[in-house]
């Protein structure tokens, strides 16, 4: 069976179908940089919004960022071996508390935003994981910030942030695993709860 033997109309229909499917695939799968950029752009727009109070801005930023973060993967990364040995309840409690701690710690930093621009430098993809290098241009220097993302359901989600060579997940890993070693998993959860309470009482 050759191409010439297929009816022209069928061929055109087939061609259209192929192009349509290719377009669908391209449209449905953003690159990691695109995914990251869409979230960062949204956040920057919110931060510049003068019509909202700082509290409102923070709430919207947190919501936007949560959509892009994969807290489960990040928690797994942070706890490594201790994740395997934790039960379901401990795991879900940890994820909940860890995301709250991240929120308290870093959402506050965003209030310091004063118009810095973000440059997107490089993107590497290995399997279902990606690394996007960016730089934030401040008055005194460029701060290199890299994001590690994981593909799921056609979109990309952040599981680690590397600032000036310091991987957040590894840093929390080192701290938390030491605490688990000394005080056990529940000891860690208790300490985390204390941090959350003291963090919130400051606001």
């Amino acid at each position: 069976m050759t191409i010439r033997s297929i009816r022209p109309l069928n061929l055109i229909a087939l061609g259209v179908a192929v192009v349509f499917m290719a377009a669908q695939a391209a449209f449905a799968a953003p690159t990691p940089t695109d995914a990251l950029k869409s979230t960062i752009d949204k956040v920057l727009v919110i931060l510049k919004d003068e019509t909202k109070t700082p509290q409102q801005r923070k709430a919207v930023v947190v919501e936007t960022v949560r959509e892009r973060f994969d807290f489960t993967s990040m928690s797994q990364f942070v706890l490594s071996k201790n994740w395997r040995e934790a039960n379901d309840e401990q795991r879900s409690t940890f994820i909940e508390k860890f995301s709250k701690i991240l929120e308290n710690t870093y959402a506050g930093r965003l209030q310091e935003y004063s118009g810095e621009t973000v440059k997107y430098l490089d993107e590497k993809i290995r399997g279902d994981k990606a690394l996007v290098d960016t730089a934030v241009a401040t008055a005194s220097a460029d701060i290199p910030i890299s994001y590690k993302l994981r593909a799921e359901g056609g979109d990309w989600y952040i599981y680690d942030v590397v600032i000036e060579g310091i991987s957040l997940a590894r840093n929390y890993n080192a701290t938390y695993n030491e605490v688990i070693h000394k005080e056990g998993f529940d000891g860690l959860l208790k300490l985390m709860e204390e941090r959350i309470q003291s963090g919130e009482s400051k606001e």
Binding site: E164, G165, S167, T175, N177
Partner: protein, 283 residues
Amino acid sequence: MTRSSLLIFISLVSLLSLAGCASSPERADTSAPPEYRSTTSVDSAGEALPEKGSDDFEDPIEDPFSDPFADDESGQTDELASISDPLEPINRVFFYVNDKAYFYFFKPIARGWRAVAPEPVRVGIGNVFSNLMGPLRILNSILQLDLEGAAGEFARFALNTTIGLLGWFDLASERGYPNDKEDFGQTLGYWGVGTGPYLVLPFFGPSTLRDGVGLVGDLYLDPVNYTDDELNWHESAIKAGVEAVNTLSLDKDTYEGVIKESVDPYLFMRNAYLQRRKAQVKK
């Protein structure tokens, strides 16, 4: 700088290299499991081990988490865990002291300075201090056999000192000559000197034995010290203090915001410092 003090310094460095070879060196073979002080064994990212979690909980990925970018990164968890902290009790004391000094002394002064001097002035001053370290960065780049980096730093120094008015204006960064921040601690790391134990130095903050020696090394190597305007210790201390206050005034409360919020600020800072140094040595 007298000949005898230089001799002492050289013997210190050789001693350190021997000690460094005994402890875990930077570029050791990581396939063998290292010994660590903490008994919490952390699997190096990338090993796939059988999953033990229950089926009720959805594990989106295999356990433990595999990070294909672990090799690109500065700090591998198992390597970092093997960096010793035998002086932890003393380190924690100095950490506490530095913390109080930061909050009750340096930060208030920095805030006052921030209120008095406008940002462009503080940025300018910071640039001048940074520029003064230019010759040292050039030298350290050469010692690390990074001639391209040395040339870049030289161009940076030349441009900023002349047209940038003694370093006030950092024109070089915009023209593609960024600040590489090479120091003697990194030079030692380049040549395979292990970090040695983690140290928290009073005033200077987190360090390691190698980086501490590196600090001293920089003092001896700094070409600026060999010009006619040699600073005595008092003047050096004041210069360091002024630079610290100015830098703090430009900083946006990073320490309070990030490190203090942590469950164990000491551990957080230790790990952050070690990761960062690893990244810098690799560059």
